[in-house]
């Protein structure tokens, strides 16, 4: 598949501090890409390089096949983690100004703004000043400003921090709609669980290094441990637990259940079949729960970090 954004071997140092070390990522066109990692890993620096706010010390960035240049500003929409608008400017004028800075003509910008204001039901805000709006309201404006010039690439840094649940959902739906219309989206966040469900592809960044990237499903497949979570009804739970432990690698677990069943995580050996396990369990009692454990990105991240340390 064609990649909209390619970052190759980018490094950036601030004095003695290395923010990015030989980082390469490829963002497929039309995908939602998760740039994940803890605070201070280098995500924001990478995003600023893509936005041409800072220049990399070495390495290259390609957008749609051509090296990054100043005309690309209009192809990128960026919602930074540090958000804000001119406080004493009117909502409409401000949005117009920012859209014009992104290369839209005044008439086009105005038409699109009217569309968006109607869509998000904020038409009567045009003449209000930002400091008269609530934080959630200002964030709606900020979102509109980010997407107004219909960029090919949308970058959201910590997209849902600061949004209330209702607005977060609204924004999530709008982002998915934009993607369906052909935009490519990059999410950057340290709260990995917040975007995991949305992403097609991910890259994990840790201490200026990219430690893992790929299709989310493939990554998960590669890191699954062949573990199943089971619940089984039995009259003598302790006896059964000891019996299963002799045959399989088990671990006590806990999940929400209506019954007072025995709950276990059972890890199969390499190549072990879940059918064999299930068959075995049905002979021992009533099976009420049988689920493959899929590792969360957070789990994978922690596993990967400990691996690299070792």
């Amino acid at each position: 598949m064609h990649n909209l954004l390619e970052v190759t071997n980018v490094s950036k140092k601030f004095g003695n501090f290395t923010a990015l070390n030989e980082v390469s990522i490829a963002v497929p066109k039309g995908s939602i890409y998760g740039l994940l990692g803890p605070n201070g890993a280098g995500k924001t620096t990478l995003i600023r390089i893509i936005n041409q706010i800072t220049l990399p010390d070495s390495g290259h960035v390609f957008l749609d096949g051509s090296p990054l240049q100043s005309s690309h500003v209009k192809d990128i929409g960026y919602l930074p983690e540090e958000r804000g608008l001119y406080k004493s400017m009117k909502v409409g004028e401000q949005a117009l100004y920012l859209a014009q800075l992104k290369g839209l003509s005044k008439s086009v910008a105005k038409a699109r703004l009217n569309y968006w204001f109607e869509r998000l039901e904020i038409g009567d805000w045009w003449h209000k000043k930002i400091h008269e709006l609530s934080k959630g309201m200002a964030q709606k404006i900020q979102f509109i400003v980010t997407v107004l010039h219909e960029p090919k690439l949308l970058i959201f840094d910590e997209p849902f921090s600061g949004f209330d649940p209702i607005n977060a959902n609204l924004i999530k739906d709008e982002i998915l709609r934009l993607r369906a219309n052909g935009a490519t989206v990059i999410f950057s966040t340290h709260r990995m669980e917040s975007v995991e469900a949305l992403c097609d592809d991910i890259a994990l960044i840790h201490k200026s290094h990219k430690i893992l990237d790929g299709k989310l499903l493939e990554v998960k497949r590669a890191y699954k441990s062949n573990t199943y979570q089971i619940g089984i009804h039995t009259s003598n739970a302790e006896a059964l637990e000891t019996e299963i432990a002799t045959k399989f690698n088990t671990k006590p677990t806990d999940f929400k259940s209506l019954n007072d069943d025995l709950q276990l995580d059972i890890t199969l050996t390499e190549g072990g079949s879940p059918n064999d396990l299930l068959n075995y369990l049905t002979t021992k009692g009533q099976v009420s729960h049988f689920v493959e454990l899929i590792p969360s990105v957070n789990d994978i991240f922690i596993q990967k970090v400990t691996e690299t340390k070792a």
């Binding site: 100043s70 540090e82 001119y86 406080k87 800075l101 900020q142």
Partner: protein, 437 residues
């Protein structure tokens, strides 16, 4: 993409629409004119009061020299002792008592004169008394020695040196005065403009940071464009305000002077008064002619062009320095440590202008400082009326513009790096480090 006009427009409109800006634009001339009218009115009221000075002349020699003026009357006492006279003056709440001891020797007499009063009188009152006494006593001394007063008067000679430069242009003494006024006014105007509007530019540069919009803006616009747009937009707003002030001030001044019946132009600072006296002493009309002649003998075209160039250049240079400070800090309270290095050269320039240039317009110090970009706008503007070779003016201007371009670049560099360092007060050392990023 060139966003400069867009940025200039936004900066201008947001400044001009600002409530504080509008209020200050309207209120400032009202306040200034109001205060001036008040001072004029009060000084008129004050002048109307007639002061009474009592004189106890025990020698009886000096009585004829004290003549009443509209604001000062002399009350001659006689046959009283000093203590009685003091009591009388205090009781009648007179302004003061001048006591002259009885002495026939003039030199001894001159040392025995005392002025008694409740509060110490203005020095002008005392010196007026002293001048009269001196004149009278000197005359009496001449007579005692036996000099002929008429001969002395007749032998006095007035010298007035005529000036002419080597190209044959005549000049007059008041030329220097005209040149001083011209250069001084230009330099002072620039100084005021920088002080008033420099801060505005600095605040404008900080604005994006305090409102946290900086990353959005900087992802769309180059910092150099943003800096330049802010400097130009804010300057235009400043010029607008200044123009309104001048118009409104002139109008209000006219109205105030008509309503209150006060001649504002009669408000004179002491220096003006002295100058005025000097003019009157030499014959008023010839002096006026001299001044006019001096004015027209100035290199007017050169002056006007130079004024426009150096005013704009100097103002932009200082603006870009203010912008650089704004770029380096997160909020206005952190700007203090950087203010002094900007104000210092400006004050230095004004001092050099008013002391060195007037003394020696083409001396080494004047020449050097008219090339240094931070002082050149003021110093060069004050030198030009005295005639500065064109190449010097051009060189100084090129240096000025070059420095401005460099400072804007420098400011935008700091600005770009500054966004990576939120919430930290930078030191000079860090600023230099940032340049290397």
């Amino acid at each position: 993409m060139n966003h400069l006009p867009l940025i200039i427009k936004r900066e201008y409109i947001s400044k001009v629409r600002n409530k504080a800006f509008i209020i200050m634009t309207v209120l400032s001339p009202v306040i200034v004119i109001g205060l001036m009218s008040l001072v004029a009115y009060l000084s008129q009221v004050n002048n109307d009061k007639v002061r009474v000075i009592s004189i106890l002349d025990e020698s009886g020699l000096l009585k004829p020299i004290f003549k009443d003026t509209p604001t000062l009357t002399y009350n001659h006492l006689s046959g009283l002792s000093l203590e009685e006279a003091k009591g009388l003056v205090t009781a009648s709440s007179g302004f003061g008592l001048l006591h002259i001891e009885n002495n026939t020797d003039i030199n001894a007499l001159s040392k025995g004169i005392t002025f008694y009063s409740d509060a110490s009188p203005a020095s002008s009152v005392l010196s007026r008394l002293e001048r009269r006494l001196e004149k009278r006593l000197t005359k009496m001394n001449y007579e005692t020695i036996g000099l002929d007063l008429e001969q002395i008067e007749a032998s006095k000679v007035n010298v007035s040196i005529y000036q002419e430069n080597f190209e044959g242009k005549t000049a007059s003494k008041s030329d220097g005065f005209v040149k001083l006024i011209f250069g001084g006014a230009a330099g002072y105007l620039l100084f005021m403009f920088i002080i008033i509007y420099g801060n505005m530019i600095m605040r404008s540069v900080i604005e994006e940071k305090t409102s946290r919009i900086i990353e959005v803006i900087i992802a769309s616009v180059k910092p150099v464009q943003l800096m330049l747009g802010k400097i130009i937009g804010t300057s235009l707003a400043g010029i607008t305000q200044f123009a309104i002030w001048i118009c409104l001030g002139g109008l209000l001044g006219l109205v105030a002077s008509v309503i209150l019946g006060i001649d504002i132009s009669a408000l004179q600072t002491p220096q003006h008064a002295v100058m005025h006296q000097a003019l009157q002493g030499q014959g008023f009309s010839t002096e006026i002619q001299d001044v006019l002649q001096g004015f027209f003998s100035l290199p007017l075209t050169n002056l006007i062009i130079a004024f426009i160039c150096f005013f704009i250049g100097g103002y932009f240079l200082y603006s870009s320095l203010y912008a650089a400070i704004g770029a380096a800090v997160d909020n206005e309270t952190d700007t203090q440590q950087f203010m002094l290095p900007i104000i210092m050269p400006l004050i230095l320039a004004v001092y050099i202008g008013f002391f060195t240039v007037i003394e020696e317009p083409h001396g080494t110090i004047s020449t050097i400082f008219s090339f240094i970009p931070l002082t050149s706008p003021v110093v060069m503007l004050m030198r030009i009326p005295f005639g500065v070779p064109l190449w010097q003016q051009l060189l100084a201007f090129v240096i000025l513009v070059g420095t401005f371009v460099f400072t804007v670049w420098f400011a935008s560099k700091i600005y770009r790096v500054g966004i990576l360092m939120y919430g930290k007060k930078p030191t000079y050392k860090e600023l230099i480090k940032w340049l290397k990023y």
